[in-house]
């Protein structure tokens, strides 16, 4: 069973619309070494344990050279990693510094206070769909919404958003563990170029904010002093780039997967229309059932670790298959059913432990507002294609387009 390269089948584009049966196969052996080198961990408790295990590193510089080569995950010599790819104490320090202008304890109301602004952006986008009989939810809504939001939070001018689009896509695609050695090399080069361009752009913007401060996160990161001191200029760049990309490439899939799932479950869609409070547990269930982040492919071991009888050697590459863990029948009853008000839903959709999603409160609110508004205002929505065409990316998985036929737009 393990001799077939399961990872290869999971990343095979043909399986993008429904990777879940492959995960079920994977879970028969909670820890398995893939042909291509990495160890795949696919069961809920094992993944959760590793996400809280201080012997696990997110810093790729701890991979053995062979593991790094095999995964094509060499360290970019031009820019230091952002905190998602760092271990404590650097990770903790940068995360605290970035949290200061974004959330508790220093700015606890930041996300909450955006409620009105987010609703406005959503209604503007839905207003723009008037007069259409088919829409592409991705291009018309799911993509522009979170992009606008994260750009506003950071303080990136609207007119520059299109550049980001390109950079963010290239960098996100770089997470995808696919392809031949040459393709991989080309990908690595592409990612480095995009990261370089993004960094140069951000450096200019940060300089501008330092000279003339505004009420945005870039300004705060560039000018504020706290108990941890201040970020260095390079740290501000890598952090801002991280937030931009994390804010770009994930929420789009949550909203799109959400609408797709609702259209496949019309009774639930109808319920959400009349019961807006359902949005809260429903978004959690989406994060479990169709998670935008399917796996965490960038972990390594600082020591030999025994999991469930398998010894993972020090310096090995570890893929935590979170989408599989969130469908583990040992943890969730009826895991393959979409139950919008599922109780006790401790999914792995935002990761867990010290790297748990920094933007989760924002992403949750965005998805709740977006889905509530879409089902309320789109009349007679139906899927044009099922399954829709997917993006290539197997890690940040979601439809590239989601054509929906509608009969009108309510006010």
């Amino acid at each position: 069973m393990t001799s077939v390269a399961l990872l290869h089948r999971i990343t095979d584009y043909a399986n993008r619309p429904d990777p879940y049966p492959l995960y079920a196969e994977l879970r028969r052996t909670p820890v398995v070494r893939d042909e291509s080198g990495p160890y795949l961990v696919s069961t809920y408790w094992e993944i959760k344990g590793l996400l809280h295990d201080p012997r696990i590193s997110s810093d790729l510089r701890n991979l053995t050279p062979e593991a790094a080569k095999a995964g094509g995950q060499e360290h970019d010599p031009n820019l230091p990693p952002a905190f998602i790819r760092l271990d404590p104490p650097e990770h903790d320090r940068l995360r605290r510094l970035s949290m200061r202008p974004f959330g508790p304890p220093h700015t606890p109301r930041r996300v909450f206070d955006m409620h009105g602004e987010l609703e406005e952006i959503v209604s503007g986008l839905v207003d723009g769909l008037r007069g259409r009989d088919t829409i592409d939810l991705v291009d018309d809504f799911s993509y522009p919404f979170p992009v606008t939001v994260i750009c506003r939070i950071l303080g990136v001018p609207r007119e520059d958003e299109s550049h980001f689009h390109e950079w963010a896509d290239t960098i996100a695609a770089g997470l995808d563990p696919v392809g031949t050695a040459e393709e991989r090399e080309a990908q690595v080069q592409g990612v480095r170029r995009a990261r370089g361009e993004l960094a140069a752009y951000l450096a200019g913007l940060i300089e501008e904010r330092r000279r003339s401060p505004r009420d945005d996160m870039l300004t705060a990161m560039a000018t504020e002093h706290g108990p941890d001191g201040q970020m260095s200029p390079v740290e501000i760049i890598t952090t801002a780039a991280l937030l931009l990309i994390a804010g770009h490439e994930t929420t789009v899939n949550l909203i799109t997967n959400g609408m797709l799932t609702l259209l496949r479950n019309p009774d639930v869609l109808q319920r959400l229309r009349t019961e807006p409070g359902l949005a809260v547990p429903l978004v959690e269930e989406l994060l479990r059932f169709e998670p935008p982040v399917q796996m965490l492919p960038q972990r390594t071991t600082l020591a030999d670790i025994d999991i469930d009888g398998t010894i993972i050697p020090k310096g090995a590459s570890l893929y935590l298959m979170v989408a599989s863990g969130s469908r583990d029948p040992q943890r969730f009853t009826d895991p393959d059913r979409f139950i919008p008000d599922r109780p006790d839903n401790q999914h792995l959709g935002f990761g867990h432990g010290l790297h748990n999603c920094f933007g989760a409160p924002l992403a949750r609110l965005e998805a709740q507002l977006a889905l509530t508004a879409l089902v309320r205002r789109l009349n007679g929505p139906s899927l044009v294609e099922d399954p829709p065409p997917y993006r290539q990316n197997a890690v940040l998985r979601g439809p590239r387009h989601l054509p929906i036929a509608i009969s009108g737009v309510t006010d």
Binding site: G49, H52, P54, S57, P88, P89, L302, A303
Partner: protein
């Protein structure tokens, strides 16, 4: 009648009395109903208030962020109980299955749950304890009084005893800008609970926040003015401070006096019970109709050598109450053991302190992540070559991992590297617990040997 038949009848129309209407009592009552108990349920509590939560009393309440009467415990479900609040239980007749109340009433039960908790140990000199301005902190009324005193703007507050409660009170005073002196008999704050190595960090923390911390001293006397108000405290080193509020934070005493002569295995260290929460009688024989939960209980734990543990931990009170409730209404085959992993938290001087396991069993300690000097770290305690406990300062996210290490009896010192390992984390050092026979502010975990009866209590020696 068959025993099974008895259980069914009992679940339908039996009488359960809960003595002690606080955290453990309320959660047990809710669990009894959730388990399907339909009989009569009586809640006896000597405090006049509905069940409320204590942890905020030394934190948000003293800061004035939450009024003391806004600390009621959230109700998980209706319990349909007869409440006897403001009525202390004064006696227990095991043979007649009857609880005697202070107001002269008596209540019969089929099964009894005792959750009478602990109370603050008072200042031993009664005349001094009666001085105006001398306070303790255990109840909501205590918190109201202390908050009132702090709001009046005292010139200086003296806290006697630097355990968790005393340290949290000192922290609140500093946050309110009040001058505060802390007097601790041991070598550092929190030593009883976390040992000397971590105690030193706590001491640094207090001093950095402007506390006048005096360790290794005893308060020899409190002095009042002509109006009976406290004004000065004298220390064993010959010094003295002027203070117009003195908070006695010398740990707790179990509320078991009402059980004296009842025949139950109850004493100053609590009420001994088995892993199923059933109380032992004085002969060391387990009862089957008297159950115990919360701070007042001493129960044996397999992970810690089956020694009896007394835990003054919020989480333990809840978990033990739920287990006790389940076992009270279940047949013997369906009963569950209370195997709660001790865990505790405290918030003081801006730091979130958490522990799992039983630190006072630790012979050695090793800082596995972070650094003591940065006051942000994770440290593991070792006992006879295994991990027995862990503590974190602002690093609670790692505790789950160490909890599993304790459960698995993982080797100590840990053989592996971790993220954020510093040079100080390369070697274990003595954990620095004081001799347990010396009185201090009182640790919140007490190990009390293997015997259910209180007369033969012996502490396990921690070091040769």
């Amino acid at each position: 009648m068959s025993v099974d038949g008895y259980l069914e009848t009992f679940r339908r129309e039996g009488r359960i009395v809960v003595v002690g209407a606080s955290l453990a009592g309320l959660r047990a009552a809710e669990a009894l109903r959730a388990e399907g108990f339909q009989g009569t349920l009586t809640m006896v509590g000597d405090e006049p208030h509905d069940p409320y939560d204590r942890p905020p009393l030394s934190k948000q309440v003293l800061l004035g962020k939450v009024p003391a009467d806004h600390t009621l415990l959230a109700r998980r479900r209706p319990i349909d109980a007869q409440w006897r609040l403001g009525a202390a239980a004064t006696g227990l007749d095991l043979a007649a299955r009857r609880v005697q109340l202070a107001d002269g009433d008596a209540i019969d039960y089929d099964r009894l749950l005792i959750t009478t908790g602990v109370r603050a140990r008072p200042w031993p000199h009664e005349l001094e304890a009666d001085l105006d301005g001398v306070c303790v902190l255990r109840t909501r009324d205590d918190a109201v009084r202390l908050h009132h005193r702090l709001t009046a703007g005292p010139r200086r507050v003296l806290v006697i005893g630097a355990g968790f409660t005393g340290s949290e009170i000192a922290s609140a005073c500093r946050e309110r800008g009040l001058p505060v002196t802390v007097a601790e008999r041991g070598p550092a704050p929190l030593v009883g609970a976390l040992g000397g190595v971590v105690g030193e960090v706590a001491a640094e923390l207090q001093r950095a926040h402007g506390v006048d911390l005096r360790c290794g001293v005893q308060v020899t006397g409190l002095e009042g003015d002509s109006a009976g108000r406290v004004r000065k405290a004298h220390f064993s080193d010959g010094t003295a401070v002027e203070a117009d509020v003195v908070v006695i934070a010398l740990g707790a005493t179990r509320n078991t006096e009402w059980l004296a002569d009842s025949g139950l295995g109850a004493g100053p260290r609590g009420i001994a019970c088995d892993a199923g929460c059933r109380a032992f009688d004085v002969r060391g024989i387990v009862t089957d109709d008297v159950f115990v939960a919360g701070d007042v209980a001493r129960s044996p734990h397999p992970l810690f050598g089956y020694q009896f543990l007394s835990l003054e931990h919020w989480g333990n009170a809840v978990a033990q109450a739920e287990t006790a409730a389940h076992n009270m209404v279940s047949g013997s085959a369906d009963r569950r053991p209370h195997l709660w992993m001790p865990s505790f938290w405290s918030a003081q001087f801006g730091v979130n302190i958490k522990s799992v396991g039983v630190p006072p069993m630790g012979e050695q300690i090793m800082v596995t992540q972070g650094s003591l000097a940065e006051q942000r770290f994770t440290a593991a305690y070792g006992y006879q070559g295994r991990v027995i406990a862990a503590v974190t300062f602002d690093q609670a996210k790692w505790l789950d991992f160490y909890e599993r290490q304790i459960e698995q009896a993982a080797p100590f010192p840990p053989e592996f590297t971790t993220v954020d390992r510093r040079t100080e984390g390369l070697q274990p050092v003595p954990a620095g617990f004081p001799d347990p026979s010396l009185p201090s502010h009182g640790p919140t975990i007490t190990l009390s040997g293997h015997s259910p009866t209180d007369r033969r209590i012996s502490f396990t020696p921690r070091r040769a």
